[in-house]
Symmetry: D2
Subunit: 337 residues, 4 copies
Amino acid sequence: MNPITWNKSKPNHFVAIGRLCIDLNANEINRPMEETVTFTKYVGGSPANICIGMSRLGLRTGFIGKVANDQMGRFITGYLDREGIDRTGVSVDRTGAVTGLAFTEIKSPTDCSILMYRDNAADLLLEQEEVPEEVIAQSQMLLISGTALAKSPSREAVFQALEYAKRHGVVIAFDLDYRPYTWTSAEETAAYYNLAAEKCDILLGTREEFDMMERFVHNPDRDDRVTAARWFDHSAQIVIIKHGKEGSIAYTKDGASHRAESYPAKVVKTFGAGDSYAAGFLYGLMQGWTISDSMAFGSAAACIVISSHSCSDAMPTVEQVKDYIERCNRGEIVANS
Amino acid sequence: MNPITWNKSKPNHFVAIGRLCIDLNANEINRPMEETVTFTKYVGGSPANICIGMSRLGLRTGFIGKVANDQMGRFITGYLDREGIDRTGVSVDRTGAVTGLAFTEIKSPTDCSILMYRDNAADLLLEQEEVPEEVIAQSQMLLISGTALAKSPSREAVFQALEYAKRHGVVIAFDLDYRPYTWTSAEETAAYYNLAAEKCDILLGTREEFDMMERFVHNPDRDDRVTAARWFDHSAQIVIIKHGKEGSIAYTKDGASHRAESYPAKVVKTFGAGDSYAAGFLYGLMQGWTISDSMAFGSAAACIVISSHSCSDAMPTVEQVKDYIERCNRGEIVANS
Amino acid sequence: MNPITWNKSKPNHFVAIGRLCIDLNANEINRPMEETVTFTKYVGGSPANICIGMSRLGLRTGFIGKVANDQMGRFITGYLDREGIDRTGVSVDRTGAVTGLAFTEIKSPTDCSILMYRDNAADLLLEQEEVPEEVIAQSQMLLISGTALAKSPSREAVFQALEYAKRHGVVIAFDLDYRPYTWTSAEETAAYYNLAAEKCDILLGTREEFDMMERFVHNPDRDDRVTAARWFDHSAQIVIIKHGKEGSIAYTKDGASHRAESYPAKVVKTFGAGDSYAAGFLYGLMQGWTISDSMAFGSAAACIVISSHSCSDAMPTVEQVKDYIERCNRGEIVANS
Amino acid sequence: MNPITWNKSKPNHFVAIGRLCIDLNANEINRPMEETVTFTKYVGGSPANICIGMSRLGLRTGFIGKVANDQMGRFITGYLDREGIDRTGVSVDRTGAVTGLAFTEIKSPTDCSILMYRDNAADLLLEQEEVPEEVIAQSQMLLISGTALAKSPSREAVFQALEYAKRHGVVIAFDLDYRPYTWTSAEETAAYYNLAAEKCDILLGTREEFDMMERFVHNPDRDDRVTAARWFDHSAQIVIIKHGKEGSIAYTKDGASHRAESYPAKVVKTFGAGDSYAAGFLYGLMQGWTISDSMAFGSAAACIVISSHSCSDAMPTVEQVKDYIERCNRGEIVANS
C-alpha cells in the first residue's frame, strides 16, 4: 500500500532545497498589522520548515540553500546548527543580497495574511555549482519546493538537484508551494512546475496549485483523477491533492485513492499547516506506514503547529504527535469556532 | 548674524521630501543582531524624522513622499496624521513596491549598525507629477535629503521640488544624508549631489559627505573653507560641516564661521543624532536666533534622541530641549563612558 | 537503418520554432569589416535557414516565431510568404523590440566572423500562448534550435512546443546551435539544453556543443559513445556529433554508428554550412533513406551554400543537390585551397 | 550684435560630446525599407555630424564619446582620424556594448524615417572619469546634445563636461536633439534637459523640443519670447527656436530677435539638416559674424547636406557653402517640388 521503496543504505534520510528565510510574527494577534508594534523573529520558508519538522521527528537531515551574508543569515545558520541539520549545502551570498522576510498578520484564526519581502532575496541566488552532488547522493529523499523555481539561478539549481537525485536513485518529493509574487507570469510558472514535476516520485499540492499547472492541459472539470494520471505517465508514484477543509486525497499509481482521519484543533493561525503536514506525511512514508496512516500523522502534526504562534519553532516530535492523536481519540481536544 | 530671510506670509513653516520608511529596533540591546529576537516598529527615514522633529517643536509641517500600498505604508500615514503633519504630498504606490526597512543593531552605545531593506522601496518611486507645487509654494522652507536622489524617478521628483521652491521663493535646506547602498557609484552620487546643492540655501553634512561631493574638485587638504566657498558661488547662505566628536562648524556667505556649545548625554545609541540636530538647528534659524544659538539648540535635541530607544518617536518638544539645556547647565546630566 | 517513423497522415512535413532575423552580408569580401562599406540584406537565423532549406527541397513547411513590428520584420514575413512557408505561427511584437541582426565579415574562406545585434531582439519575446498547438499537431516534424532557449519568454515557448509535439506524436529534431552571446552563463545553458534534449528524437550538434551540455556529467575522454548513450536513455533515436573537418558521426539507439561521404567545394565562406546540412539530412530521413545517404545529401547541400554569398537565399532544391553530387562524382568540382 | 565672447587663447575651437554611431543608408531610395536590399555605412549621430561639419569648415576640433570594441567602433575612429578630429576623449567600451545604428528610409524627399538600434549602445556608456578635463579646458566651445542625457552613465558624463566647461570659461552650446526612443518618460526628459540648459550659453532646438522642456512651466501660448526669457535668467545668451518651414528665430539676451535668409535646395532627404545648420551657424558665430549672417551660413550648409545621400560625409567646406550662396543669389538653384 506504500509504493515508495527507500534506499536504506544511504546514511541520511532527508535533504531539502530552496527557500530559507525569516518570519517576523506579530506578537499582538487578532488585529491588523497597522496596529501591531512588536515582532518576533523565527526561521521560515516552506522547505526549511519541513526540514526542521523532519529533524524534530528524529531523522538525519540536511539543507541546500543560500543565506545572506548578514546578521539574518547567521541567525538562520545558527538555528540549523542547533536543530542538528547538516548545512554543508548552505552557501553564503557574496553579492549583497538580503534575507527574505515574511511579516505575519493574524486578524483572526481564519483570517491570516503575510507581507513578503522577496526582492533581491539570497535564497533565489543559489547556483548550480553550489548544489553538492554528494549531499544528495547520500540522502534517501530529496524535497523540492516550487518557490525555488521562480527565478534564475535558483531555478537551474533545483533542476541540477533533480538531475543528481535521478542519477543516484534518491526518492524525490515536490511540495508545490506556489507563491505568485515571485513569479513573472502564470504561464512561466506552469512551464517550470511541469518540467520539475515530471521528474518527481511524490507530488503534494492544493487543487488550485494543480490547476495552475494545467494551464495548457485539457481538464475542464478539474478532475483529480485526470490530474494525478498525467503524472503517473512520468515518474510519480503518489499524488496528493489538498481540498482545504474537505480534506486531502492521495492517489497512487496503481489507481487507488486514499483519505485519512482529520483531527480537531484550537487554531491560532493557519500558517505552517502545509509544512507540518508534509513533514508528518513524509515521515510516515519513510517508516513504511500505509498512506492513510502517514496522512493521519501529517494531519496531527499540522494541528499542533496551527495551535501555536510560530511555524518552524512549533514543529513537533514523534511523541508529541502521537500524544496529540491519543488526546484527540480520548476527546480531550475540541476545535474552536 | 542669521543670514536667512523667511517669507512669513506663507502659511506653513516646513515641508520635507524623500525617504519615509520603517525602523525595526531590536528590543534586546548591547548584543549582536544574531541574538536579538524581538523588534519594535517605528516610522523612520532621515527627512521623515526631521519633519516629525519640526512638528514636535510646534511648527506647521508637511511631507512629500510615497508609501507602499500595504500595512506598513498605512502604519506610516497613520503616524503622520497623529503627529499633525500634512500629507497632501504623500502618494501611495500602485506597483507592488514595499516599504523600506531599517533593522537596528545596538552592540554598545558607540557600536551601532543598521541592516537595510531598500530593494524596490516605495519612497524611491515618487514621480515628478506627484510633487504638489502648491504644497511647496505655501511653505517657508523645503528640506531635501540625499537618499531621495539615489534613483529615478525619485531623483527627478527632488529636482522638480527644487524648481518649485526656486520659483516660489522658498528657502531650501539640504541634509546630505549619504547612504552608499542605494547608489550605483560614487561618481554618480557626486554628480547629483552637486547639481542639487547648487540650488540650496543651507547645506548640512559631514566632512566625509562633502569629500564625496568633491570627487572631481581640487581640494587636496579637505579644507572646510574651500568646501564652503564653492557653494557660496551658487545659492548657499549657510554651510554646516560636521566633524563628529570634534563638533560642527557653520560657515556663512559673509566669510564668518560659527561653533556652538555641546552637551553631555547618557548615550543609548547614535542613530537619529543628525536628524534631531537638523530639526533643532533649522527650528532655531526660523525663530531668527543666531547661528550659534540654533546650533546649540540642535545639539541639545540630538542629546535627547540618542539617550532613548527610538529616533522619530523620541523627537523632543521645545520645552524638553530647553529643560535639557538647563539641566546640563546645572550639571545634572553627565555623559556615560 | 532509419529508425524514425513518420506520421504520414499529418498534412505538413516540417515546422521550426525560434530565431528569425536579418543577415547583413558585406558585399566587399576578403577584407575586415572596418573596410567594408556596403551590405546586402537577407533573412537569417539558424531555424529560419533550415526551414527555408526544407521548403526549397519541396516540403510543406511552417514557422513559429516572432518578428519586430517594423520594416525589417515585414521584410522577413514577406520573404517567408514568397518561399511558401506557412506563418500562422509567426507573431508580431508589440513592445518595440527590434529584429536581430548579423553583420558578416569574410576575411578569407576560412576566416569568417559575425557581429551580432541581439539586444531586445523580437524573436526572444515569443510567448507560450503564441505557440499554436494545431500547427505543431499537423506537422510530421518539429525542429527546435538552441538559441531560442536563451531567454524568457522564448525559452518557455520552446518547452511549450515540445509539450505539444509529445502530445501529438510529432518527431522532434534539436539543432543545438549554441551561441554564447545570448546566454547568461555556461551553467544555465547546460541546464536548459539538457532539459530540452531529453525530449527530442534527433540531436545534431558539434563535439563542443555536446561538451557544453556535459558540464555536470562525467565524460572525461569526451567520448562520443558516452555522449550519445546518455540521450538514448531518454527519447533520442539518432545523435549526430560533428567533428568539423573530420566529418560527422551519427549514432543510433541500436548501438550502430554511421559516417557519410564528403564532397569538395569552392568555399566562399563557412556560414550556413550547418543549417544546409541539417535541412538536407532531415529531408533524407523523411524520404526514408538510410542515415548514410541522408548525411551525404546534407553534406552536398552544405557545399552548395558555402560556395555562395548568402545562407538562406542559397538553399538548394533537390535537383541542385543531386546535380552537385553527380558533378562531384564526375570529378568536376575541386576544392579551393 | 554677436553676444558671445570667445577665449581665443585656447588652442582648439570646438569639442563635442555624445552620440557617435553608424548610419546605414538605403541605397535604393524613394521606396519603403521593406523593399530596400543594400545599405551604405557612414559615421552618424548628431554631435558627431556637427563635429565633422566644424572640421570640414576648417576648425580645430575634438570629440568626447565612447565606441564599441568591434569593427563598427574601429570604422568610426578611423573616420575621425581621417577628418582630423582629435579623439583623445573617445574611449573604447569593454563591456560588450554595440555601436548604435540608424537605418534610413527615404520614401520621398519629404517622407523620410529612421529605424534605430539603440539597445546597449556604447555611446551611452561614457563615464564621468572618461571625460578629459584638459580637452575641454583647451577648447573655445563645448557642444552637448540631448541624446547623451538619456541614460546613465552618459548623462552624468555630460554634466561633468558642463562642470569643466564652466570651470574653464568655455562657451557651451546645446543642440537639443530630442529622440524619444531612448528616454524613459517625457517627465524625466524635461528634468535633465532643463538642468543642462540652465548652464548653457547657446540653445538650439525646435518649438516642439522647447515645448517638451516646458512640461512643468506655464507657457500656454507656446510663446517663443517666454521660452527664451526663461533661459536668459540662467546662462543663455542666444536661444534659437526652429519652426520648420517657417524658418528659425534667434533671440538674444538684449531682447532682440533675428531671422535669416533661406535658400532653395533640390532635396534628396531631410536627414542631417539640423546638424549642418548647427555647424554652419556656430562657425559663423566663432568668426564674429552677426547672428543673421551666421544663420544664413547655417541654412546654406543645410541645403548642401539635404541635397546629397549622406549626412556626415556631405558636410561642406567654407568654399562650398559660399559657392552655394552665390549660386542661389544668381538664381542657379531652384527647389524641387
